[in-house]
């Protein structure tokens, strides 16, 4: 019961954007993807989300090949928070978040949907924006709207207490669910960065969601991820538990920048980038 890529390639006109990538998002764990710009991180996320199909290798979600699952079934088991979504039509923030309930429109009730939307809006700290027009928001505010939208999709037809809110029985209760976040901290202030990452981690730890997030900050990887995969030029150069992989030597060579580990007086280490 994972979301996994097995020896996946993605090739465009003879150029490999991903090469022989094997990776698994496990329920209850947070997997961070780290790598320089252009390493293929977003491409990997798109392959896992079923947005593009790999040119070689295979992708499975809960044991089934991704290519054999309908878009709707996929959407009921996995939510994606994109990097930037543009929308010119003036939907209100509440309505945009409510769009996340669309995959469940046939099995959920309107009342339950509304409850979930309100809860997500509160968690994403956008209650004060909920009647504003989405296009008028700042970049960071838009990110939080999309986090809330991904959350209401992820929650499916069960509420926080595990009680089913569906109008009829839904047999998807056993399938593991996945949350994919593409640079969720981009454009956010420090406190909201931590709030977003903590929310994602809580979904993994408390509700057994498999979380994958693309991150750039080493220390956020150390704090919020269990596993990490380092990508360069389309290939995975290292993956495993965070404490094993996040070594200054490896990171220095991947990012071509001197990186040191400094002991944190309150415990653990802090990775710093020290040029010169």
């Amino acid at each position: 019961m994972t979301l996994m890529a097995h020896k996946a390639d993605f090739k465009v006109r003879g150029r490999y954007l991903l090469r022989d990538v094997s990776i698994a998002v496990t329920p209850g764990e947070v997997l961070a993807i780290l790598g320089p710009n252009g390493a293929g991180k977003s491409t990997l996320l798109k392959v896992l989300a079923g947005e593009i199909s790999p040119s070689g290798g295979r992708v499975f979600q809960n044991g089934r090949p991704l290519s054999s699952i309908s878009a709707l079934d996929l959407a009921q088991e996995r939510a994606v928070m994109p990097q930037a979504a543009s929308m010119t039509f003036p939907f209100t923030v509440f309505d945009v978040v409510a769009l996340g309930r669309a995959p469940f429109r046939k099995v959920s009730t309107r009342q339950f949907d509304k409850k979930q939307v309100r809860r997500a809006i509160e968690l994403a700290d956008i209650t004060h924006l909920q009647n504003r027009a989405y296009p008028a928001l700042s970049g960071g505010e838009k990110q939080r709207v999309h986090l809330a939208r991904a959350l209401v999709q992820l929650w499916g037809v069960k509420d926080a207490t595990g009680k089913s809110g569906a109008s009829e029985d839904c047999d998807r209760t056993s399938a593991a669910r996945f949350l994919l976040l593409d640079e969720p901290t981009a454009g956010l202030d420090v406190s909201h960065q931590h709030a977003v990452l903590a929310l994602a981690r809580r979904e993994a730890k408390e509700y057994g969601v498999g979380v994958l997030m693309i991150l750039h900050d080493f220390n956020q990887v150390l704090t919020y991820a269990d596993q990490v995969a380092v990508l360069t030029a389309g290939e995975v150069v290292a993956q495993g538990p965070v404490t094993n992989v996040m070594a200054p030597d490896l990171l220095s060579s991947v990012f071509k920048s001197p990186i040191r580990a400094i002991d944190d007086p309150v415990g653990g280490v802090v990775l710093v980038n020290q040029s010169a």
Partner: protein
């Protein structure tokens, strides 16, 4: 519009109904009113009371009829004409709303991406050069030749646009819009060439295709009208998928929409509807653009309401425009495309100015 909004707000205070649903009801009432009033207008004035009496007699509510001459005008001239106006207006309004969502661009409209122009190009080609192209088969096609050619033109344009805008198995909506603009220019150039070549009799007929008319071609319009009704029935239910589409194609896919499938289906069916509309009435601009925009001012951008309301709005606009076209230059009749342009253009400009103020930060 503001008055309507206040009315809606006032009504809502007493009724536990959704604002947008209320607006839909209001539009239905509006469409009925427009139909009744329009039935009475024209060269021969028939009072609203008489129209009611006649309609009542037709559906068997009353025994008494009205003056036989008036009844004939209503039955054989105005009623079919207004039904055409309603179907075509609904088709164009809905097609505009669907295209705006598909291209995620508020200025998309069948007129702008060249589908209407290509349909007209098909029609014009048949009028001017039909006997050369079809040879001895020309007679066999009879009155169907021109509408079929119009239809073919619309479908061909749509196919060309979707093939050219495909790359690596996906369609780029922005490129698609630009390709449509190019097709539009090419089709209008073609129409221009044939206009230059045409003789006097053909020119009169060409004017009809370029400026639009609801006078119709009798029973030969039936197939096209049926296609439109079926197309409308399909498109009007796409509200939620098209809402997701507005978030972006990738996001729509993440939320469970089979994006390529939806895009292909919706584009082809929209083209069929527009092609059929042009086949019946020639090019009628502005309805596809104005109706959805007007509607969004009242309902907001939610396609679950915008789609049905645009269909209703389009029908009302075209019925009203047709009434104006029939009486403004009596005893002649103004091409309806001119009316929608003359009245619609400035009206739309005014709306945009209001809308611009609303978007202030």
């Amino acid at each position: 519009m503001i008055a309507v909004k206040q009315m809606v707000a006032a009504l809502q205070m007493q009724l536990p109904v959704n604002r947008s649903a209320l607006f839909l009801i209001l539009l239905t009432v509006g469409l009925c009113a427009a139909t009744i009033v329009s039935l009475g207008m024209g060269g021969v004035e028939i009072s609203v009371g008489d129209v009611f009496v006649h309609l009542g007699q037709r559906i068997g509510v009353t025994e008494v009829g009205i003056d036989a001459f008036d009844a004939r005008i209503l039955d054989s001239l105005r009623l079919p004409r207004i039904l055409r106006a309603i179907v075509i207006g609904a088709g164009l309004g809905l097609a505009g709303a669907v295209m705006q969502s598909l291209f995620r661009n508020p200025i998309a409209d069948p007129g702008i991406i060249g589908v209407s122009a290509s349909a007209a190009f098909g029609a014009v080609t048949m009028i001017v050069a039909g006997h050369l192209i079809l040879g001895t088969y020309y007679a066999a096609f009879g009155p169907y030749g021109v509408p079929v050619a119009a239809f073919g033109g619309a479908v061909l344009a749509t196919v060309v646009i979707s093939i050219l805008s495909r790359q690596d198995g996906r369609t780029d909506a922005a490129i698609m819009l630009l390709i449509g603009v190019a097709i539009n220019a090419i089709a209008f150039a073609g129409v221009g060439v044939f206009t230059y070549m045409a003789d006097d009799a053909q020119l009169r007929s060409l004017t009809f295709w370029q400026m639009g008319a609801l006078s119709g071609n009798g029973p030969t319009d039936m197939p096209a009208l049926i296609v439109m009704v079926l197309g409308i029935a399909y498109l009007i239910r796409l509200g939620t998928p098209l809402n997701l589409f507005l978030l972006g194609e990738a996001e729509a896919r993440h939320l469970g929409v089979e994006v390529e499938h939806l895009k292909r289906r919706a584009t082809v069916i929209t083209a069929l509807v527009v092609g059929a509309a042009v086949a019946v009435s020639g090019i009628i601009g502005f309805v596809g653009l104005v109706a959805p925009h007007l509607v969004r001012l009242a309902t907001g951008p939610d396609n679950r309401y915008v789609l049905p309301a645009s269909a209703m709005g389009g029908a009302i606009i075209l019925t009203a425009a047709d009434a104006v076209a029939r009486i403004i230059v009596l005893p002649a009749e103004l091409p309806i495309g001119l009316v929608t342009g003359i009245v619609g253009g400035p009206f739309f400009l005014g709306l945009l100015i209001v809308e611009k103020k609303r978007r202030r930060l």
